[in-house]
Each structure stands twice: as C-alpha cells, then as structure tokens.
C-alpha cells in the first residue's frame, strides 16, 4: 500500500489528549468530584450465598455525618442488568441495586452515605446483618445438578428465550449446526477429542470503577462515570431507579482503561441511588479489591473440542462444546459463549460440518462480564490448541496446517453467521510472522530437540485468530460534524474513548476527508445531553462502526460546504476546487474561515452534518501469533523469550496507536497464558483479589513483543479499516502452550501454565507419578 495515499489516516498521529493525561491534568472522574459529595461505601456479604433476614442500621445511623444507610428494603425493587448492550437484548434482568439475596462473597448488602469517608467507614462497622446462610453453588461444572438455586426470586426477567432453566442454574443453552457434524466426524481418518479450561481473568485496568452523581441545573440526575457505555448506562440507571431516561444524564470524562470491565456498570447505581434519594452529590469509588472481587471478570470456560481431519491436515468436522460460568449474575454471558465458536470455527474454513453447543450456568462466584476477546479468547485457546495437537499428531508443521485451513476471500463463512469474507491477509501474516521469529530455523517437530542449557529446552509455537468489527445489525451510532466560526471543525461523538484513542482516530478520519490537519478537528464526548447516540466502546466497534459514521458525516458536510461556496461565489459546484483551506474557481476564492464565519452569521442553515451507521456485516480482523519459550525441566519454569504478532486490521488508521494496542493485547494474552492465576477459597471467596495475589505481567516478565502489520483492504470499512482492539489478545495462550509442547512435549490444557503445573505435567509424562 503506497505511503502517500493518505494525509491524515494511516499515520502515527499523537493522541488528542496526550499531554493532558500524561501531565496529570485533573481529567478523570475522581479528579472532579464536587467538594460536598457524600462518600458512598458498601457493606458486602461474607457468605457466598445467603438470604438477608434483617439489617440492623440504627447504630450506624447515629454516627455523626451519616446521611443515609440503605438496604434492600429502601431501594427501588426493579430488576435490571448491569450489562451495557444494545436493546432489546438478551441480558437477563437479574439484579437489584441491593438485594434480599447475597449471591457471592462480596455481593453488596447495605450502603452507607456520609459526609466524610471516616464517618462512612465507622458506620459500616456498626451495621449488623442477620443472614440465613444457604448452601452455595461453587463448581460450575456441576452447577446444573446442584440442589441449590442461585436465582430463586420470582421477578427474574428473561428479555427473550435464551434456553434458561433457573431451577437447574442454567442461564442459557444454545446449539447451532452447519452441515452434518456426526457423519463427517465419523468419516474422518483422524479424530481428536480434547477438553480445556480457561480462567476468570481480571481486566485489571488501572483506574478502578468510580462514579459521582449530582442533580444538574434542570434537576436531572447526572452521573460522571468511568464507563465504556455512556448511553446504555443512562438507560440502565433509569430502569433500575424507575425514572424516565429524560431525567438521567451521563457524562464520560477521561477513563483509565476498561478492557470490557466497564462495559458493565460498577459504581453507577450506588452513587445514583443516594443522589436520587437525598438530592445530595455522591461519590462511589471502588477499591482495587472491590474491583477485582465484586465487579466482573472474564468468564471461566470449559471447552470440549472434537475435531475430525484428513491425513493432510484439512479439518473437515468441528464441534465446539462450551460450558461457561456466568458467576452470580448474567452480564453478557449469553453473548460471550457464542463467540467461543463463531469466531473460531471459521478459521477451519473447510470444516463445512460443524456444531456448536453451549451452556451458561449461574454459580455463587464473582460475576463474569466482558473482557477483551469476549469468548473468542477462550475459544481460540481451545480450538487452536487442538489444531496444534493435530499438527503434532500428523507430523505437520503448524504453520502449514493453518495455510490448509484458513478462510478465503469471497467465500461465505457458514459458522460466522454466513457472512462473506471480503478482506483477509492471514496467509501473509503467517509468512511474515514465520520470518520474524525465524520459524524455519527454530521449529523442530520433536520435543527436546533444542537444548539451551542444563535441563533447559526451547520451543516455538503459533496460533491464528479472528474477531469482528462491531456487532452486525445491532450496534448503531451517530456522529455530528460541524464547521465552526473560526474555521475549525467540531466532531461530536458518543463513542467512549477509554484510552483506546477513538477521539484521535475519528478526528483523523474527518481530517482525511476535509483535507485538513487532525488538530483542526475538535472532538467532544461524551455527555448524553449533547452527544449523538453511540452504543459505546466495545465489541471492537469504534474504528469500524463510529468510523463509518464519521466518514459519512464528513462527506456530507463537505458536500454542504461545496454548495454554500458555490452559492456564495456564484460558481457552479463542479468548477470549484477545494484544497482544505479554501474553495476556488473562476478566479474567485472563499476560505474555510470565511465559510465558517458566514455559516454562523449569514446562512439560513448551519454547516453541519449528522450521520448514522449500523452495519450489515462485521468484517473480521486477523492475527497470526508466534511464541518462543524456554522450559526448565527441573523447575517447570517457562521463560517467554519472544512474542511475535502479525495483524491484519485492514488499513491501519493510526500506526502508533494500533501498534501499541497490539503490543498491549499480546501482553495481556501472555499474562493469561503464564501468570494470571485465579483462586477461590473453599468458602467461595475470590482470594486473588489484589495485585499482590493476582500477578499482572510486569516489564520484567515480558519479552519485547514484536508486532507487524499486513494490511488488507476492507471494502466496507472506513478507508479500508477493520478493528484491532480485541483480536490481539487471543493468540498468546495457544501459541505459548504449543511452544511449551514443542520444547518439552507436555500439553497444558488448563490455563495458566505455571511452573508448578508444567513441572507436574513433566513428572506425569516421565511416568514417575500419576497426577491429574
């Protein structure tokens, strides 16, 4: 692709907010809390499952400075979902702001609002709760036969039929088929049947959940919140409180990361209910422990893969059978499970006979939610690991087995909702990745082929992955672009920049069409009272969905500017020339500055355009990921030596930001593969609830992650772009596990591959001891 085709996109443009966020300007939620805001703290259940018989609040109420103490009898009883998703949707209304049941260790039971944090803390200690302790459901693999029922309430609402059976703790069951899996599998000379487990990983964005609320000048309940779903939050808050949406306003300032966590509400309603009931500003900020233990995590999965193949490595039949732990509440769970199959099976494009079965169960554990990759990550680990196993079994190079199976442009992908693939450079991604990691030198099929020191062996592995770009025919957004007095443009968006840089890349797109510098576009967002509607930032959607709306609006605005210039200059539109600074033709000239001035002073219509976009398709971006490890057979320790990712996200809109998105995604993927262990106590408490216990990769744990792009051109995307945010997290787990297998011959099918687990597997392989 030629370097000079674009002036504003396809370049490394610094973020529009770079210097304010780096310089420590007070631009995040917690920096702007009104001085008189009440501090809101929550009392949380020590039991995994209990019914709240009575909350004794009297002593707490007496603490000086306490304004209110609330339990489930004091708050509106409407059920809702914390999940931010377009509606009507399929997330169950299974929550109350405070509930009669505590469904996991940490579920809130009572709330205190006080003038100071000290007063609130003191009051919390004085609340006494009478519980009826119930038998918790802790093991998701047996939840559907457990006699306990996690959701016994009679006002639970399924928005639509998702195959739920609450008596058996089943939130959703799902099945879809392409062709005839059973017949095709039976006919295959090679059959694999493997089971995998993935963990409930923490998104671990550095800014914890926080919201403050107040009544604005119009008496509207106004929330300033660290959220990815500004507009959905407005709807959900109105539903939970039982007040009209017109009475709720949500503002998103700068956000310190989300990675999907903030696609569900966290603190919003606890601040909001206090302001709603007392009229006072209120601030609720979760500690790191609360964020880890009491908001949401990645959903834990057990995935069984049955793969039938020809002797040459062509996969003919594929069945993904997923069991997902929703945890105590069902945010996003019924959608997450679908991606474990629909974004993995299509990568075995010749498997026309496929099946997907899935079951989502409730348990009395920390709720799952959205985390970058959203089910595709879990599925990728299982399916790609099975494909790697197939390669080992057939003595085939795993890169060559991919080339036999990957999808082709122009063909429909039956397991991907029948969508026709319009852009894909995965073959080039694989070729480039092989070169970068020196695959042909480093890959030796037999384990223990590459000793690198006393009891140390090296190995390489790889995997491929795809995601989507927004949600087909569901997610919608609008943007408004206008020419302002002073000759600059204002771009109003509802998409939530949570660090992802969408403010910047959308400005780049507008600038590309308006032929100006990116700095000439002022981006404003998000305040539901003046931003155009946007579904929010999730599902890898901003570049593609909001990007398409932005280019549409920019083209429309440019057309209007042409018309206005033609009329002012009395020159036919076709004879006008626009260079980004001015319109000229027949010797006359009108600058953008003059046009902006006239637009506000003279014209009968303001030069502005609003465009909407909803996509009939969700073009997949692709990644080929490679890893090299060194395994110490005496300790089981896995050292990650190299991580290479080659990405097809269509046209790269911002070369610096896309690069860092990819590096960051690979880093999180490596954490999931090797370090991020999740532990539940016997009582069902998530004990890996701080950065002390939950090991995020530090800069000492990661090799220099090496990223390259193999651009394709997506005809439906803005300037040929697809998404990048999520796909980059998927490949490290299967690639690293394959590298471990390649080094020392053991296969890890339950993440993460800790030294202990690898050591045990090595021992088992030696036959010294049978260890499960």
């Amino acid at each position: 692709m030629s370097e000079n085709r674009f002036r504003a996109v396809n370049r490394a443009v610094p973020k529009t907010d770079a210097f304010s966020i780096m310089g420590g300007a007070p631009v995040y939620t917690g920096d702007m809390v009104p001085r008189d805001a009440l501090t809101v703290l929550l009392l949380r259940s020590p039991h995994a499952f209990a019914r709240v018989k009575k909350v004794h609040k009297d002593k707490a109420m007496l603490v000086s400075g306490v304004v209110c103490v609330l339990d489930h009898t004091d708050v509106p009883s409407h059920r809702y979902s914390n999940a931010g998703a377009s509606y009507p949707g399929n997330n169950p209304f299974d929550r109350r702001i405070l509930d009669e049941y505590a469904r996991y260790v940490g579920d809130p039971v009572a709330l205190v609002a006080a003038e100071t944090e000290e007063a609130a803390r003191k009051a919390l200690k004085l609340i006494r709760v009478e519980y009826e302790v119930l038998q918790p459901v802790l093991d998701y693999e047996t939840a559907d036969t457990d006699p306990s029922v996690v959701h016994p309430e009679d006002n639970f609402v399924f928005q639509c039929d998702i195959g739920g059976d609450l008596e058996h703790n089943v939130l959703s069951t799902i099945q879809s088929d392409g062709g005839d899996f059973d017949a095709a599998y039976a006919a295959c000379p090679i059959q694999l049947d493997e089971t995998y487990h993935t963990m409930a990983n923490q998104q671990a964005m550095m800014e914890t959940f926080r919201t403050y609320s107040y009544l604005d000048q119009a008496g509207r309940l106004t929330l300033v919140s660290s959220t990815q779903i500004t507009f959905h939050a407005r709807r959900l808050v109105s539903q939970a409180l039982g007040i009209p949406q017109a009475k709720v306003r949500v503002i998103k300032p700068r956000v310190g990361g989300g990675f999907g966590a903030k696609q569900s509400m966290g603190t919003e309603l606890f601040a909001a209910v206090v302001t709603h009931l007392t009229g006072r500003p209120a601030y609720c900020c979760f500690t790191r422990q609360e964020t880890c233990q009491c908001t949401n995590t990645r959903h834990a999965f057990r995935i069984r893969v049955r793969m039938g193949a020809d002797l040459d490595g062509t996969v003919r039949a594929l069945w993904v059978d997923s069991l997902e732990n929703a945890g105590a509440y069902g945010e996003h769970a019924a959608n997450v499970i679908g991606l474990s199959a629909h974004k993995t099976i299509p990568l075995c494009a010749k498997a026309e006979d496929w099946r997907f079965t899935g079951k989502v169960v409730y348990t009395n554990t920390t709720p799952g939610g959205a985390y970058r990759g959203f089910g595709a990550t879990q599925g990728c680990f299982a399916v790609e690991s099975t494909l790697n196993k197939l390669a080992v079994k057939l003595h085939l190079d795993p890169t060559l087995i991919r080339l036999k199976n990957i999808p082709e442009v122009g063909k429909p992908m039956s397991a991907y909702y029948g969508e026709v693939l319009q852009s894909c450079s995965l073959d080039r991604c694989i070729a480039t990745g092989k070169k970068m990691i020196s695959w042909d030198e480093k890959y030796a099929p037999a384990p223990f082929s590459k000793p690198s020191g006393p009891h140390r062996y090296r190995g390489v592995g790889m995997a491929v992955s795809m995601q989507g770009s927004g949600i087909t025919a569901t997610d919608n957004c609008s943007v408004t672009l206008r020419l302002d007095d002073g000759g600059f443009y204002t771009l109003l968006i509802g998409a939530s920049d949570i660090g992802t840089g969408c403010d910047t890349i959308l400005a780049q797109m507008a600038a590309e069409i308006l032929q100006c510098d990116t700095e000439k576009i002022t981006v404003s967002g998000v305040d539901t009272s003046y931003s155009p509607y946007d579904k929010g930032s999730y599902a890898s959607s901003t570049t593609y969905i909001t990007g398409n709306a932005t280019t549409k609006a920019a083209k429309e605005l440019l057309g209007k500017m042409y018309d206005a210039a033609a009329e002012t200059l009395k020159v036919p539109r076709e004879e006008l020339f626009f260079d980004g600074e001015s319109f000229s033709g027949r010797g006359a000239r009108l600058t953008v500055f003059e046009l902006g001035r006239d637009s506000v002073n003279r014209f009968q219509t303001w030069l502005s355009a609003t465009a909407s976009f909803s996509s009939p398709t969700s073009p997949p971006p692709f990644v080929a990921g490679f890893a090299e490890v060194e395994v110490d057979t005496q300790t089981g320790e896995v050292k990650l030596l190299d991580l290479v990712g080659v990405v097809d996200c269509g046209t790269v809109i911002n070369k610096a930001l896309a690069h860092v998105q990819a590096e960051g995604g690979f880093a999180q993927g490596a954490g999931m593969a090797l370090y991020e262990q999740v532990h539940l106590t016997e009582e069902g408490k998530l004990s890996t609830n701080s950065f002390m216990q939950y090991k995020l990769p530090s800069r000492l744990d990661l090799p220099p992650i090496r990223i390259a792009f193999e651009e394709s051109y997506e005809p439906t995307g803005p300037f040929g772009a697809k998404s990048i945010g999520e796909v980059v997290i998927n490949t490290p787990s299967p690639a690293i596990m394959a590298a471990i297998q390649n080094a020392v011959g053991v296969t890890i099918q339950t993440l993460p591959a800790t030294a202990e687990k690898v050591f045990m597997a090595l021992r088992a392989a030696e036959g010294q001891k049978e260890i499960r």
Partner: protein, 155 residues
C-alpha cells in the same frame, strides 16, 4: 496535626490526620496527578519524589514528609516535556492513568543513572505497572530520549 513541607518548591502547611497517606494529602493539596491504582504497593501509579527519591505515596505515611521536599508531576512538567513528546509519538499513553507515576520514575532514574542499559531500565522501572501498553512503547520513548540527550551533549 499540621504537616509542614515543601510541595513542588513551595512551602506548605496542611492539616492532616496522623494515619493519613502522603497520597491522600497530596490530592487534597490539588496535586491530582497523584492517583492510586492498587492499595497494596504493587502498581507504582502513585509514585512521587521525597527529597528527590521516588517513593510510593500510597504507603508513605504523610507525617514522615515533615520538613521534607515533595515533588509531583505538577512540579516537573517542564523537565518531563521531551519524555512526554516521545511517549506521545509512540502512542505509549493509552489510558494515561499510569503515566504520571511512570514519568516520575523515569525522571528519577535519569537523575540517578546517566545512561542506563535496557536491563537497568527494566529493573529500575519494574515497579511501575501498565496494563494497556505492554511496556515496549514506553521503552522506545526512553531510548529516544536518551539518544536526544546524548546528541545534545555532543553538540
């Protein structure tokens, strides 16, 4: 109790409670760049300097700052300008929440180690977590900064 200390070059007196962390006092003094990420001294986001040394303000008892000189991002914006420019060029400021603490650590490192190797750099900065970037872009920015400084010395 009253804490008397120097904050970003200015003498200050501030009422504090004896068990308060320096982080909480600094935010009360309007230094909003100082933020918390973890509550367990693991993330480095709250990094500031006391008498020129990088410390974690979340676990530093405020009374210990009595008579000392405290520096936050607000006090080193000029010194940080080049580093911020290189970080911005690399896109190393994704959500930016870790940036002020990280920058304080980098500037402290550059005062201590004139020309750190990559290994020294990683060791020194290992307490500064970043969930967004995977760290590489931060390292590229530091290397660029070191190169620029070297060039300036040679001119």
């Amino acid at each position: 109790m009253t804490l008397t200390f120097t904050l970003n070059g200015r003498k200050m007196s501030q009422e504090i409670s004896p068990d308060e962390s320096l982080l909480s006092v600094l935010r009360r003094c309007g230094c909003y760049s100082v933020r918390s990420g973890c509550d367990t001294s693991n993330c480095g986001i709250c990094t500031v300097w006391v008498d020129g040394h990088a410390i974690l303000s979340c676990s530093y008892p405020a009374p210990r700052a009595e008579g000392r000189s405290v520096t936050t991002m607000e006090g080193v914006r000029d010194e940080a300008q080049d580093l911020m420019t290189f970080l911005a060029e690399e896109g190393a400021d994704q959500c930016g929440f870790c940036s002020p603490g990280f920058i304080m650590s980098v500037l402290a490192m550059l005062r201590e180690l004139k020309d750190p190797t990559v290994d020294e750099m990683e060791q020194y900065l290992s307490g500064n977590l970043c969930r967004c970037t995977g760290y590489n872009s931060q390292h590229r920015a530091i290397v660029k900064l070191l190169e620029k400084r070297r060039d300036e010395h040679h001119v």
